[in-house]
Symmetry: C2
Subunit: 466 residues, 2 copies
Amino acid sequence: MTLIFRWIAVLGAAVIVLMIPVPVGITPASWHLFAIFAATIVGSIVRPLPAGAIVFLGVTALAITKTLTPAQALGGYAEPLAWLVLSAFFMSRGVLKSGLGRRIAFVFIRAIGHHSLGLAYALVSSDVLLATVLPSNSARAGGVVFPITRSIAEAYDSTPGPSARQLGAYLLFTVYQCDVIACATFLTGQVSNVLAVRLAKDATGIDISYAKWLTGAAVPALLSLAFVPWLLMQVYPPAVKHTPDAARMAAAELHRMGPMRREEKTMLAVFVLVAALWMTAPLHHIDYAIVAMLGVGTLVVTGVLTWNDVTGERAAFDVFIWYGGLVRMAGALGDSGLTARFAQASAGISAGWEWGAALAVLLLVYFYAHYGFASITAHITAMFTPFLLVLLAAGTPPLLAVLFLAYFSNLSASLTHFGTTTAPIYFGAGYVSQRDWWRLGLLISAVTITIWTVFGLLWWRVLGWW
Amino acid sequence: MTLIFRWIAVLGAAVIVLMIPVPVGITPASWHLFAIFAATIVGSIVRPLPAGAIVFLGVTALAITKTLTPAQALGGYAEPLAWLVLSAFFMSRGVLKSGLGRRIAFVFIRAIGHHSLGLAYALVSSDVLLATVLPSNSARAGGVVFPITRSIAEAYDSTPGPSARQLGAYLLFTVYQCDVIACATFLTGQVSNVLAVRLAKDATGIDISYAKWLTGAAVPALLSLAFVPWLLMQVYPPAVKHTPDAARMAAAELHRMGPMRREEKTMLAVFVLVAALWMTAPLHHIDYAIVAMLGVGTLVVTGVLTWNDVTGERAAFDVFIWYGGLVRMAGALGDSGLTARFAQASAGISAGWEWGAALAVLLLVYFYAHYGFASITAHITAMFTPFLLVLLAAGTPPLLAVLFLAYFSNLSASLTHFGTTTAPIYFGAGYVSQRDWWRLGLLISAVTITIWTVFGLLWWRVLGWW
């Protein structure tokens, strides 16, 4: 029956909007659009069906009610950013399939995994390195790093239950928390970052490139990636401090894997090529999506991926369907004048505020609102544009507002054991209790908010960004 | 090494085009477009990779060479027709999964399957009925009808080898030949029909609706569906003439299946709804694609399909990728003026021909060219537009030219044991020798060409279409 209530919430959102009189200056069609958008957002929060299905229904509703023409409603599926996401997911499959992801992790572990803190850094480094190109944190932190982390814990007889805190709980929780930071570090760290960039561009005209996103994140990201594993070692310490077996295991695995096979080398070359082309995009102006498609094309031509691997990549098509639909709806809302109207209204609300105070209050609200979201995507879709508009109305420098919201959308996933796609995997392993997760998640959130605010603001000042 | 030669053919096609001096009045960018298009077409014929992968590479090449912008190159993925195809494939999954397809076949068999000719009509009828909505002939003739046909043959001890001609060979070959006719009967009978419609619209401005396609096909299709099983009964007769066990088996299966479950009823309702909305499109102007999406949405909301079923539908995404890419390339060629230039040139070639003579000669060439194609799609992509333009230049009434080419593209798949996606399935069962297939395929081609030409022309005259 809970399913019925979810559907009632979804339809209710549309009905409520439709019952409000259409504001002056807004066309009835735009108001219908807003009603369908509201239902889609509520749907992607309460999820009577997976998010992709909700958006599919939303797009269908837009066209069937003739709110948009079919070509307009489907327009998002020709967006290069949708194809960036799709292609990056295909590349993730290549990293998993070729074994490159495992090799990277084992190389780090062999090098610095002799004690538990080093081991944590090794695992985190693997995840961060993969995040340069792979926006699927399920593939990266879930598919590559998680099984290795768990098998190391098990090798030290740390399993769910009394022995969980021996080693496994520390490692898994640390990797998860740092994966969230990795999500925030790269434009491709997490799949809805491209959505945030797109929404930011619609609202402010500011175009955040891969390089710009990374430059802005670099200093606070490095500081938090360095600090969080150390901090958790103090407040959530494992009993096992020395882990020579982990390094030995990694060495043995690497030995067993032997030298890199052709597929793995090809994957590595594609990985490096794609990352390099993304970072240098302002020089050659090849679109991110096309670079990613070139990467996928290379993997298919060289046989690292079969075409069957590509077309069988469920998660990729799921994300493609929701992304293409949402981005189009958000764009159409902008075109309809509703977004501008909201901005005018919010200018009234925040009139007379210091922008610094507005920023502080609104960012905290934005961040901790994530307690109510089971995905970063839902959070961004529902709250990014309205919060951005209010911040702009209060006089916040646009670039600052955009960066804070974009980074915080990811960092807030630290809070709960369902904060982003990988959380249920790490929580589901059974090492970390919910109580610990929420308690420590809150602590980490205070730490990352502080680091990203203080050092972020300093760093962006140094860069002359405000 | 044969793979290398295929790639050489693909790249060679582009190189040859690029070596030809750019015709006056055509921009270099358009000529690059043509080179990439030529390579894509050759690629989808010689297939060093599956067709979807070839098109993916073609789209990437278009954007990376800056022949088109990324948004232009990807524009086809926002085409409603691409989403029609995608959604119709999702519906096919529902027909398979819910068991509705099997039930339809068993109902027909129970009713008229008491002797082998009736049995053939029953199997063919199931396939034709499904073709009203399902463009995936792999799902329809391959997934639903094929296993039933084979198990009936086996029940009569007809297996590959000496007993093949007892019953199995006749049934399988007849069903295949009639599936090819079903492909030609409906706009949704086969996946590249929508491509033909799109190409026809670009070249002539004529918009072939679902209803118009079906109206044009109705008389010749019914005649050939009635005649071909009977003809094969004369020239390729099975030893077993009476098949009471088939009808009994069907009755037993239906008994075992029990009354329709909720999923099956829902699927049936969606099936009828979609077909009805497609046929009445000129009345309500809801786009075909949106109707199909409504159907899929209903199946997902009611749980007939899970979202996982949808995103796991490999074949659907494969087709989506090639369709969206090809349609865009063809459109861009039209915009570039190259298609118009070709039309002018061909006007010179066919100047002074009677259009009737031109039609007869060119249609035969078009039809029998299918000996060289392993898919209807490749055939249409490579030959439809040029042949249409030459026919128009010779003065053929445009609608006639379009209909003949569209229907013949499908009917020509009768010729070989690799003529369309289902051919390898039916041939691979091992009942029909290659010699018989080609010999009888040639016979059937003469029959269908005659029926569709004579009765087609008559019928279209009655309709006032020429």
